[in-house]
Amino acid sequence: MTISRRAFNIGAVNVLGLASQTIVWPALAQSEQIRIGWLGALTGPNSAPSDGFNRGLRYGVDAVNAAGGANGRRIELITRDTQGDPTKAVNATQEMISALKVHAIFGPANSGESLATTPLMARAKMPNLHPCVVNSLIDPTKYPNAFRMGPSNRQWDDAVRNYCLKILKVKKVAVIGDTTGYGVTAVGDSVAAFKTDGADVVYSAQIDATQPDMTPDVLRMKSAGAEAIVAWSTSTGMAARLFNARAASGWDVPFVGHPSLGSGEVGRLIEKAANWEKVYAINYKSCSFDAEGKLPERTQAFLDKAGSKLDLKGTLLWWVLCGVDAVDLFAKAVIESGGVSSEGVIKFLNAQSKYPGLFGDYSWSPTQHNGYPTDEVVMGMANSSRNGALKLAPGYA
């Protein structure tokens, strides 16, 4: 049988084509970088949390890559600054899904943005870890791809309410928040829960975070007889102005609430150091100094290892640890599932029970996507920040 040159060439091209489909492409896919999308409000008035998460994510990516990657595959962190704007977050999500073809997304870090992006990610079956607190963001039926790494608003709310009612033993509270989607939702949830527990909510309001003078609101709360002020806002400027106005009105009512109350930025804006006394911010056992000034063993070991590679100035430790954990979880998901398919990553996350992260022990199942343990949420003394960690607030054993 003679084979013409033409037939030989056609046959050779077909064989090479088949080989490239069956051998070459999987090899390329397996060495392809793992693309993690990161949607953070890195600029804008509510950028403090994203700045902290960003430090953790970058450290986590560098650490995994330095150790040889996940199954030999390097991680690429693709960042988009949403500026706290849901429209920008939606556009960035579309870009990440359609154009950048990321394998998983961390964020947004702001609930207002997450409310807009979560349905989009669900449609694309995009594995999504986020630290946002709004309760409705987690629904394993509607959003089987979305997993919460931080506490929910309900868990924060429980910690704040329990501290007010059981440790501070106050009966009358004022509940305030900023005018963002998060602020409005958080105030509504908090007021309802306080009322359910029999507390008297004597004042509740949304405050414009850019308002230069908080005296009107502070005086209204004082007139209403508030024994504690519960504050839900990520705005450090608003927090500092509230503390200054409290001091100017000669009032020593305690503030209890959002972690941003303990951000280093607040310390730079208060008029006197004393204005930051009696302020208790949500914190976590993993990021709390005990009475002897020591952090939990796991946290301290990590900080010793990270050393100067991790800048903790002016941020909160939990934001950073959560970012590091997110990268580790995605990397482990790739290793365990053997690839970057969304089904594999989601299956891995659904199977975690007390996954030992730095920030906390995460547990998810197909029916429960709130992964953070409630008993880890505690209150810390806002003005005691050192390396982003706080001292436990008075009253805890």
Binding site: T43, P45, I207, P212, L219, S223, T236, G237
Partner: protein
């Protein structure tokens, strides 16, 4: 109402009103020499706070030097506004292209500040360290700055040749050119003056508003209200309108709370404009046609 509330309304209301008034004067000063509403006015106010904090707190310069540098930088940005965003569109004023060009420059200034400075409010230095409570300098400094600017502009316009030349250009720039006045140079000087006034507003109000990039948009918005209330190009109207706005806004903060206060301010603003579309004080001059 308690005395504390009344004093707070007066102190904060007049201080914020003075800042709005100065931003309104910045709008007017730019408008009078070019017939352009430049939306960089609020950003100049923001830069007054940010640059003041940067020079004094971050670079450690003496307060007087920091103040002088702040005004000089803001005056320069005023001139840059004229060259970049105003001059190219002067020939087609009827198409209102200046809205886009000045708004674009305004957004650029804000974004660059956010990237280079900080996205969180930063502290502003104590200027004299005088006063406490409602007599704290953070309340009376903007009012004093507003009074000084008012007196300076009155002196400039009534007692100096340059000031009269400004008025001539503002009234009819074609006639002013025919008379041999250097219209372009006067316009540049007008933008430099506006920049310095905006910078002074931000510096004087820095302790109250902090050094915060987002103040630019805030001041653009609220600084425009006294211009509309007082009549475009009317500085006295802007100052009265600004002070009234500050007082009303702070009173609304007490009566109805932060979110609704903004609504209340703009309801009144719209009603005033419906009743007196030329502003409460009318335009500076009536043009005979």
């Amino acid at each position: 109402m308690e005395y504390a509330s009344v004093f707070s309304i007066l102190a904060t209301g007049l201080a914020m009103g003075a800042i709005y008034a100065l931003v309104g004067v910045t709008y007017n000063t730019m408008y009078s020499t070019s017939r352009v509403m430049s939306f960089t006015a609020g950003q100049l106010g923001m830069l007054g706070g940010v640059l003041g904090s940067a020079f004094v707190l971050r670079l450690g310069l003496p307060l007087v030097v920091g103040f002088a540098l702040t005004l000089a930088c803001c005056a320069t940005i005023g001139v840059v506004t004229e060259i970049v965003a105003v001059r190219p569109v002067l020939k087609s004023l009827d198409q209102h292209l200046y809205v886009l060009s000045t708004l674009a420059l305004s957004l650029m200034i804000q974004q660059v500040t956010a990237i280079e400075w900080s996205t969180e409010p930063q502290p502003f230095p104590r200027v004299f360290g005088i006063g406490s409570g409602v007599w704290d300098e953070k309340f009376w400094l903007p009012i004093a700055a507003c009074a000084l600017v008012t007196l300076f502009l009155e002196w400039l316009q009534k007692r100096t040749l340059v000031g009269r030349a400004f008025l001539a250009v503002a009234e009819d720039n074609f006639a002013a050119q025919v008379l041999g006045l250097p219209e372009r140079n006067l316009r540049i000087a007008g933008y430099a003056l506006a920049g310095a006034i905006g910078g002074l507003a931000g510096f004087a109000g820095g302790e109250l508003m902090l050094a915060f990039f987002a103040n630019g948009g805030f001041l653009n918005f609220y600084g425009f209200v006294p211009v509309a209330l007082g009549g475009l190009g009317n500085n006295r109207g802007s100052i009265v309108g600004g002070l009234a706005l500050g007082l009303f806004q702070q009173a609304a903060n007490f009566w109805v709370g932060g979110v609704f206060a903004s609504v209340a301010v703009f309801v009144v603003f719209i009603v005033v404009l419906l009743v007196a579309p030329q502003g409460l004080f009318g335009p500076t001059t009536a043009r005979r046609v």
